[in-house]
């Protein structure tokens, strides 16, 4: 089950299916789950008995760990990150953890410096700077 072909997110070995899939940052998931919760509220008087524990826990988690609260900021963050040659998975890890320095960014997403797709330090520095600006002016 797990452990087939040595899964390792640090090297972006997460299987074809997930490499090509759309990855979501916590703030984006928060919007989707909020929307879904509103829909459930409209459909029945008591939405809480329709929500699974998985949904409830996930909603609490993404709200607690969202870096960007308003819709525009979320969109801008994704836009900034999309300018660089990143895999969806890498983009979301960076968006979720918001590293302060280039060194930290490389430590949490080692794959950005591997496989001949090396992202230059300058580019990483600029990306982190742009991300921090979004947060500052949110």
């Amino acid at each position: 089950m797990s452990g087939e072909e040595e899964e390792n997110a640090a090297e972006l070995k997460i299987g074809d299916e997930f490499l090509k899939a759309k990855c979501l940052m916590n703030c984006e998931v928060a919007r989707i789950l909020d929307h879904k919760y509103d829909q459930l509220q409209q459909m029945s008087a008591d939405p809480t008995n329709q929500i699974s524990q998985v949904f409830e826990k996930s909603m609490q988690y993404v709200k607690r760990f969202s870096n960007y609260k308003n819709t525009d900021a979320v969109r801008q963050a994704r836009e900034v990150l999309s300018r660089y040659k990143l895999a969806e998975f890498e983009l979301c890890v960076l968006g979720n953890l918001c590293p302060d320095t280039v060194e930290e960014a490389i430590a949490i997403v080692p794959s950005i410096k591997s496989k001949g797709r090396k992202l230059e330090d300058d580019a990483i520095e600029k990306m982190l700077h742009d991300l921090s600006l979004i947060k500052k002016f949110e």
Partner: protein, 177 residues
């Protein structure tokens, strides 16, 4: 990590549901059956966001049930070995601590907690550095790396570490001096 993926499932429907609301009933049944479940391949299905396609129904031999192949999109949470993420500590004991990241539970053994952190028992058991500057206790937020996953029948369980660089308690710059 959360993903938005397309999944397929064969749904069986009893003829009593046939009628003008067949599609709605099918979607409702899909949500009831799939949301909140977990598989080793896709992780936890958190929420179904839309139904892409419902194929032609096939009547099953011998029973009157009809099988519909349904294609739908869902938000799933799938933890990966080597992934770094943030979690909330739920329980601390001398073997290590348990943390939760969304629907998944992660255990960090005391062997994978930095050596300069010691276990303190008491009302609020915690791990603290010798100078008391960093503390891990219930409801603390930590950044950890997943080093292994195990798939059960109904859930995925992970083990993690905070011993590497840039891992450990997350300090809120607004709170600490």
């Amino acid at each position: 990590m959360f993903f938005h993926i397309t999944l397929e499932r064969n749904m069986q429907l009893h003829p009593r549901h046939f009628g003008p609301h067949l599609r709605d009933k099918l979607v409702a049944k899909l949500m009831k059956d799939v949301e909140g479940t977990c598989s080793g391949r896709h992780g936890f299905v958190v929420a179904i966001t839309g139904v892409e396609d419902i194929g032609k129904g096939l009547i099953r031999e011998g029973t009157g049930f009809v099988t519909f192949p349904v294609k739908y999109q869902a938000v799933v949470f799938r933890p990966f070995k080597g992934e770094i993420l943030e979690a909330v500590v739920t329980m601390v004991n001398k073997m290590g601590f348990f943390a939760e990241a969304g629907p998944v539970q992660i255990f960090v053994s005391n062997h994978l907690i930095p050596d300069d952190m010691e276990f303190q028992s008491g009302d609020m058991p915690n791990y603290t550095t010798s100078d008391g500057s960093v503390k891990i206790q219930k409801d603390s937020e930590v950044r950890l790396k997943i080093i292994g996953t195990r798939v059960d029948a109904t859930e995925i369980f992970c083990i993690g570490t905070i011993k590497d660089d840039f891992l450990g308690v997350i300090n809120d710059p607004g709170v600490t001096a």
